[in-house]
């Protein structure tokens, strides 16, 4: 394998074990620029762990993760974010005690050091950008509302908004439509289609309909290993995948 790649994200030989149990085992996959890459797989396949490894939440036991040829495994979480990787959690992870405006503002990529934050001014640029994002995530009317009072779907959108405001090159979404109503789901797909312009997206999703709608490429994980990879069409017809999903 080459040390230097043209891929935006190159995951090679990635392994992590918890007390001997290999949650991710010698995993390799690549994400191109402007590609929407979906990871699917049954429960416990190690999907969320992969995202955790990329964003630095979990430390790898072996292997490498290169983002634009920079090794991420040696970086701290906030450095990874600054390098251009954004991550959305499975459960909406937003600040309940702050307003929607403040939630977005905190993610605004300025004043991220201690003294930068102390001196941070809420100037016009900030307000405009927050308004712009809020518009995009359907929360323009809720800016002054405490985030805790948002509906589940709105919270998911807010978190996506918090990522968007940072304009990451790689956006990682962990089950963005889980627990949403049909209407919300439709709007979310619309939102995702809007925001995936000019960036790569790595998505974990169970909802096959949704995956089919958006995926450029699909990776199927099973027991920490890749079971199958390729277009949705190809994956769907792979007998190994069928067995894992329907078998037992």
């Amino acid at each position: 394998m080459a040390n230097s790649t043209d891929y935006l994200l190159a995951v090679e030989g990635l392994t992590v074990s918890f007390d001997g149990f290999k949650a991710v085992n010698d995993l390799s996959f690549y994400v191109d620029s402007n590609e929407i890459h979906v990871i699917i797989g049954p429960n416990g396949a190690g999907k969320t762990t992969v995202l955790d490894l990329i964003c630095g939440r979990t430390k790898a036991s072996g292997g490498s993760i290169k983002f634009r040829n920079k090794e991420l495994t040696a970086m701290k979480e906030h450095q990874i974010v600054k390098a251009g990787v954004g991550r959305k959690f499975q459960n909406p992870s937003i600040y309940d005690d702050l307003t929607v405006f403040e939630n977005l503002e905190i993610s605004y990529p300025r004043g991220r050091t201690v003294f930068g934050a102390l001196a941070f001014k809420r100037d016009a640029a900030v307000r405009e950008r927050v308004a712009e994002i809020a518009e995009m995530i359907f929360l323009a009317d809720n800016l002054d509302q405490r985030a805790e009072y948002l509906s589940h779907g709105q919270k998911q959108w807010l978190e996506i908004g918090m990522l968007l405001i940072q304009d990451p090159e790689l956006l990682m979404l962990d089950e963005p439509v889980a627990g949403m109503s049909v209407n919300e789901r439709r709007k979310t797909a619309e939102l995702l289609n809007k925001i995936i312009q000019n960036r790569s997206v790595l998505v974990i999703e169970h909802d096959m309909k949704f995956v089919e709608d958006i995926a450029h490429r699909v990776t199927v994980l099973h027991q920490g290993k890749i079971l199958s990879e390729g277009s949705m069409e190809r994956v769907k017809n792979d007998p190994k995948v069928v067995e894992v999903y329907l078998g037992h």
Binding site: H78, V81, S93, Y95, D97, L98, T113
Partner: protein, 385 residues
């Protein structure tokens, strides 16, 4: 209160500022007029604990970091000031009966023949004043760096800070030749020749203390209203989200811990000045936890609440132990339990829940809305009587 959305403050007079002005009026006008110098000095002493409570509002209330070792910083601040004052009180003339004149009396009793090196710089008031803030902040920085960078938090942090308080107490008590031991550093007399024991001096120190306190409240308010303040709240709620928004979370925790330490230390220094001595009994575990309850009673989220909470608890302690000493521990214990179980947001929470809405309704009918909006921020029971 600071969490009121920005837009609601527009077009209204800032409630926090009104609250602070009212507190200032209480401290600078009402109390000095209503109390004799003896009681006023007591209030002054209580107010030094309010600095600690303010620090805890930021550290614990905002950021969710509960330190059970704030007494450490209060104590170190107090000791730094006490070292300067003790050196001034130990001039060769004043200590000529000692076998080594010119060093503090307790050193002489412990056969020290010369001033230890780390005491030397405390001949300078400037150095001592800087040390009051810098030494505790530095210590907090080191502890914070070690713990927060390794993501020690919550309960573990609380227990480790508590262990530090225990260690420091044993050290101070054990190294009596250098620290004055369990008796502490006592018999402090003058500050640059100005006798701090007189009634006039106590009055002046009271006002200095009150002014410093108001200044520190404003400083805390600035911090809380800055983006940093919102980040602290954010990391209390969802630390990972903050981390994955590109912040080095540990740095923010270290900052707020150091800030709280420095605030506590200012309180300690003012304590030494007003009470006239410093002893290891303010460093240990028990005073450190008591200081947490001051903050909790006032409301761990409210800066002003913390000040009123401190005044109220201490006033109650004095009153109860004067009339029913047996009851004091029961009352204190009940306060701890009550504040956790029944009103977790303390006095400030009660105010916001019951009094503020009623006042808002009343105020709504008036023209002069602004003046009334802040008026009731004083809880019905202050230490004024």
């Amino acid at each position: 209160m600071t969490r009121t959305p920005q837009s609601r403050l527009v077009g209204r007079i800032d409630g926090d500022i009104v609250g602070i002005l009212l507190l200032a009026a209480l401290l600078v006008i009402v109390l000095p007029l209503g109390l004799d110098i003896f009681r006023l000095n007591m209030v002054g002493k209580y107010l030094t604990y309010a600095f600690v409570a303010l620090g805890l509002v930021l550290c614990w209330g905002s950021a969710g970091i509960l330190s059970l070792g704030q007494g450490i910083f209060f104590g170190i601040g107090g000791y730094c000031m006490a070292m300067f004052l003790k050196l001034e009180a130990s001039s060769p003339e004043a200590t000529k009966i000692q076998s080594t004149p010119g060093i503090p009396d307790f050193m002489d009793w412990n056969q020290l023949k010369e001033l230890p090196w780390f005491w030397e710089p405390f001949h300078s008031l400037t150095f001592a004043t800087i040390a009051v803030v810098a030494v505790p902040a530095l210590l907090a920085f080191i502890v914070g760096l070690a713990m927060f960078k390794r993501r020690v938090g919550g309960v573990y942090f609380a227990i480790i800070t508590q262990a530090f308080a225990a260690i420091l107490t044993i050290l101070i008590v054990g190294q009596q030749g250098y620290t004055g031991g369990i008796n502490g550093i006592t018999d402090l007399r003058t500050l640059k020749g100005w006798d701090i024991r007189t009634d006039e001096a106590k009055l002046v120190l009271y006002f200095v203390n009150a002014a410093l306190l108001i200044g520190c409240i404003l400083l805390c308010l600035y911090v809380r209203r800055s983006k940093l303040g919102r980040i602290l709240v954010a990391l209390r709620d969802k630390e990972d989200r903050v981390r994955f928004s590109g912040y080095d979370v540990a740095n923010f925790k270290i900052f707020v811990f150091c800030f709280a330490a420095a605030l506590s230390a200012v309180g300690g220094a003012m304590f030494t000045l007003q009470v006239g001595f410093m002893s290891p009994s303010f460093v240990g575990i028990v005073p450190s936890i008591e200081m947490v309850i001051y903050c909790a009673v006032g409301g761990r989220l409210s800066l002003l609440g913390a000040v009123y909470g401190t005044l109220l608890v201490n006033w109650a302690k004095t009153m109860l132990s004067e009339s029913f000493p047996e009851l004091w521990l029961f009352a204190m214990g009940a306060l701890f339990i009550g504040v956790v179980m029944v009103f977790p947001n303390g006095l400030a929470g009660l105010y916001q829940q019951f009094i503020a809405p009623r006042l808002r309704r009343t105020a709504a009918g008036r023209v002069d809305e602004a003046a009334d909006a802040g008026a009731p921020i004083i809880p019905p029971h202050t230490a004024a009587d």
